[in-house]
């Protein structure tokens, strides 16, 4: 840490007097073992040393980032950022850099995962593949370890580290596929056989599929589907920048969702996977977004918070000048039902394992089109009666979770993959009153 702290102090020295600056350094290793046709075909690892710098000269703001291993690069980064800032108009909404504060001493770190060898990941892959004998397996097992350091010219310093391990894959028969996923802080916590067994079972159960007519169906959605809904709500709704621009569906204090729905962003939760501060050095904290169906809060960075006369919630993200502050450690309260119990409550509907290729048609209504993939099953009279071909849907995600629309919440919340990737949303399965399917994947 001393070496890295020294590196950051050197950058501050080069910035000079009269300049505000914030500097972030991320170091670590990211590795990913990828398999297809039931063997490992691509196996990669990367050393990371990435520095990001934002400077302000009397409100003229610019940023620079780069892979940094030597002082020459450091000097160039600083010079580039300052030169660019000097050529900018004054930004009247520049909030300044953060004042010193204590960062929560929370680490989501597993030393063994940080040191994981390619053989460790290969063992997990083998267990996944072996869970589906005679099937074709594809997917990946990854480990990442990141140490993050932050300093600014107001004297604020923060440091943290986090690890993540992921196993994600499918098993395929000649005519079908099923998926499984697990994200954990530690690779040892990944139950590869169970993930593989679920994927294999879904694939086997989907061998004989048939078309169903498009229309409105009651649905039981897996954690992956709910995670995708949640991340769209966060990115396009609870994001203060989007809200300020008038593009959000959010009406604070209003019962916009079913009373069973509670959603919060909380990187400090024991189950979290990220460092306890954001790219502006602000400490993360719990942000209640929806409580009992009532929309309660937004995610803020320093800029949007200053505009609203509030404190940042610690949700600034890389590239956030354009995207705005994002919820990236979201926990949705789980219920008490098992998936089988929720299915038992459905007279006629569908169980969906995964959404795919979801895209927003209109951000304000959050109308989204997408497809089902890797396991779509017909439910009749409280039981899975067969597998159906993939379907296209066009559905407002806000309406889908509206008052009286959530009929059941699973007791199975976990980190789930989403349209924006894994390790962001901790979600349960969910039983919804209606979902609008507009066509089959075959026409």
């Amino acid at each position: 840490m001393t070496h890295r702290h020294d590196m950051l102090e050197k950058v501050l020295d080069r910035v000079g007097n009269g300049v505000e600056a914030e500097i972030r350094l991320v170091t670590g290793v990211e590795s990913l073992t990828r398999f297809a046709n039931s063997f490992i075909h691509q196996n990669v690892s990367e050393e990371i040393s990435l520095m990001s710098l934002r400077v302000a000269l009397d409100g003229r703001v610019a940023s620079a980032s780069g892979t940094v291993t030597d002082e020459e690069t450091l000097e160039r980064l600083v010079a580039t950022a300052i030169d660019a800032a000097q050529r900018q108009p004054i930004d009247p909404e520049w909030p300044g850099v953060k004042n010193p504060a204590i960062t929560p001493a929370i680490e989501h770190w597993d030393a063994e995962t940080a040191q994981a060898a390619p053989e460790d990941r290969a063992r997990k892959v083998k267990e996944f593949v072996d869970a589906g004998p005679s099937m074709k397996a594809a997917g990946y097992c990854s480990t990442s370890a990141a140490e993050v350091f932050f300093v600014n010219t107001n004297g604020h310093f923060a440091a943290g580290r986090a690890t993540t391990a992921i196993l994600d894959g499918i098993h395929q028969t000649g005519h079908s596929a099923g998926s499984g996923h697990q994200t954990s802080r530690d690779l040892a916590g990944i139950d590869a056989m169970a993930v593989g067994a679920l994927a294999a079972q879904r694939a086997v159960d989907s061998v004989d599929t048939y078309d169903v007519k498009p229309g409105d169906y009651e649905v039981v959605l897996s954690q992956e589907c709910v995670a995708t809904i949640a991340i769209f709500l966060g990115a396009y709704g609870f994001n203060a920048k989007v809200y300020n621009e008038g593009m959000s569906f959010v009406e604070l204090g209003t019962q916009q969702f079913d009373e069973a729905f509670t959603m919060a962003d909380d990187a400090l939760d024991d189950r979290g996977l990220e460092v306890p501060f954001d790219v502006e050095g602000t400490s993360r904290r719990r942000v209640d977004l929806v409580t009992g169906g009532v929309t309660r809060g937004l995610t803020y960075d320093r800029r949007t918070a200053a505009k609203a006369g509030l404190e940042s919630t610690g949700n600034a993200v890389p590239g956030g000048d354009g995207f705005g502050p994002m919820a990236t450690q979201v926990f949705i309260d789980q219920g008490e039902r098992t998936v089988d119990e929720m299915i038992a409550d459905v007279e006629r509907g569908l169980y969906v394992a995964t959404f795919n290729y979801c895209r927003v048609l209109d951000p304000k209504s959050l109308a989204v089109t997408g497809l089902t993939r890797n396991g779509t099953f017909m439910i009749e009279n409280g039981k899975i009666s067969g597998a159906v071909n993939g379907l296209r849907f066009t559905q407002s995600f806000v309406d889908a979770l509206g008052p009286e629309r959530i009929l059941g919440l699973g007791n199975d919340a976990r980190w789930a993959d989403s349209e924006f990737g894994p390790a962001l949303m901790h979600a349960p399965s969910m039983h919804l009153a209606s979902w609008h399917f507009t066509g089959g994947t075959d026409g």
Binding site: H41, L361, G439
Partner: protein
């Protein structure tokens, strides 16, 4: 820089690789965004490092480091081989590589005006003027404009003796105006959604009349709020060039990637509806459909001299008179399929494993103009500028939304329509292609945001297209 790449290759071979290659890549990027006449962000980034790829048995091992020294490069090569060897715990059929010529060469993107030499203030001022023009139109809530420039130097060395230096320059940008109504937003973009990017210098930005189109774009966004909603029906669909380019990207470009066809991307990006045994017999579309993958097109975003395996850029027929005849391939996938290597493997920076990527997958032009097509259409819709896109994992079922549409009645453009969408099945849709505009309206559209692979890689691809008409398409699908 070649010495570091050589050290990496030597390290990999010494550690047991049967083949290795390495790239030293130094790249820089400059980007700027303006929102409502205020600078939202000005940023620059640079990236430098070595990525080395080692082949052992049935797997590639890859290791990347930002340390550009002989010692670090050699260690990176050794690590790549160690990683490849660990893959043997879950083995498959050994990977073979199709032959390519061994070359010592250099190549540079033809460009007139270094985009990084154009004063930053001039670029930002132009964006502010564009934003102001849009914001001056009553009803515009958001007036956003941006530019981005990329400068990449890469030094490639293979264990078979190739040594290639390339300098690639890319430039582009765009803007959009958003009007916000009751529970809806309407947006218009220029030159297209996501901006228009090309290989080349700042002249590729000057090519488009940024300031001359801003007012029209903003006015159309406001008009859309009051426009009629497109009703759901089957009708003739005329697509503007940039939307057709994305249609090509999604329903042809990804489907013809050989790694997808072979199942190598099955878990994430997906597979393909195409089966290799039907190559040269499968009917992809109508007789008017002629698609090439051409990495040699000057100015197109997917152009280069050599791919990231050292294979020379080339033009490959993909669909000829409606019949599927070609794929996008690299050395390993081509060898597996028994096809010649297409030189279509690229990586997103030094730290990513090279993989099959689209080059410039374009639809060759036909005859006449968009106006001719409209004049020849009795009943239909004309849709322009992408707003949403979604397609299944076999690249079969798609649904696109565009920013704007106009009703076509008796050969004339009529009512403006909002919230336009269309949906279809790839070979059925392409089978209905019945009019295709000519070379005067043929544009090398660029897609700067193509995601593929794990870890995710963002690719820059090109898609040449002129406006075209399709019959009996389902339009107006909504929630």
């Amino acid at each position: 820089m070649f010495e570091y790449a050589r050290a990496a290759v030597e390290g990999a071979l010494a550690a047991g690789a049967t083949y290795a290659d390495a790239r030293v890549v130094i790249s820089k990027e400059e980007s700027m965004e303006v929102l409502n006449q205020a600078v939202e962000s000005v940023g620059s980034s640079e990236s430098a490092g070595i990525g080395v790829r080692a082949l052992i048995g049935s797997s590639w091992g890859f290791f990347a480091t930002p340390s550009i020294t002989n010692a670090a490069a050699r260690v990176a090569g050794e690590r790549a081989s160690e990683i490849a060897r660990a893959s043997a715990m879950v083995p498959g059929e050994p990977i073979a590589l199709a032959d390519v010529p061994v070359v010592q060469a250099s190549w540079e993107t033809p460009h007139d005006e270094d985009p990084f030499a154009v004063p930053l203030g001039d670029k930002v001022d132009m964006l502010i003027r564009v934003s102001k023009t849009m914001q001056d139109v009553a009803g515009i809530a958001l007036a956003r404009a941006g530019l981005a420039f990329y400068d990449t130097n890469k030094w490639f060395v293979s264990s078979q003796g190739s040594e290639i230096h390339q300098h690639i320059v890319e430039s582009g940008g765009g803007y959009d105006a958003t009007a916000i109504g009751e529970q809806e937003t309407q947006r218009r973009s220029y030159p297209q959604s996501f901006g228009q990017y090309a290989t080349g210098g700042y002249e590729m930005v000057r090519l488009w009349d940024y300031e001359g189109n801003a007012q029209r774009v903003a006015e159309e966004a406001v008009q859309l709020l009051a426009a009629d909603v497109m009703e759901e029906r089957e009708t003739a669909l005329i697509l503007e060039g940039s939307q057709l380019a994305l249609q090509i990207h999604e329903s042809v470009g990804h489907a013809i990637e050989l790694d997808r066809i072979l199942g190598w991307e099955a878990a994430f990006a997906g597979t393909s509806h195409l089966e290799l045994e039907k190559l040269r017999t499968h009917r992809y579309g109508s007789e008017l459909m002629n698609i090439t993958a051409d990495a040699t097109l000057p100015g197109a975003l997917g152009s280069f001299g050599y791919d990231d395996e050292g294979t020379p850029a080339q033009r490959v027929d993909i669909v000829k008179n409606g019949t599927w005849v070609g794929v996008l391939s690299g050395r390993d996938s081509a060898a597996r399929a028994g096809l010649p290597p297409g030189g279509m493997v690229r990586a997103d920076g030094y730290s990513r494993l090279p993989m099959v990527r689209m080059t410039n997958v374009g639809l060759l032009p036909g005859e006449g103009t968009l106006d001719d097509i409209i004049a020849d259409t009795d009943d239909g819709v004309y849709m322009a500028t992408n707003r949403s896109w979604s397609i299944d994992d076999k690249r079969l079922n798609f649904q696109f939304g565009t920013e704007i549409a106009w009703e076509i009645k008796k050969g004339k453009r009529g009512r403006m329509l909002k919230n336009p969408t269309y949906t279809g099945i790839t070979p059925v849709f392409w089978g209905t292609l019945d009019r295709l505009a000519g070379g005067e309206e043929w544009v090398h559209w660029g897609t700067p945001n193509c995601g593929k692979g794990q870890p995710m890689q963002v690719g820059h691809t090109g898609h040449s297209a002129s406006p075209a008409r399709f019959s009996n398409v389902r339009v107006g699908v909504r929630a």
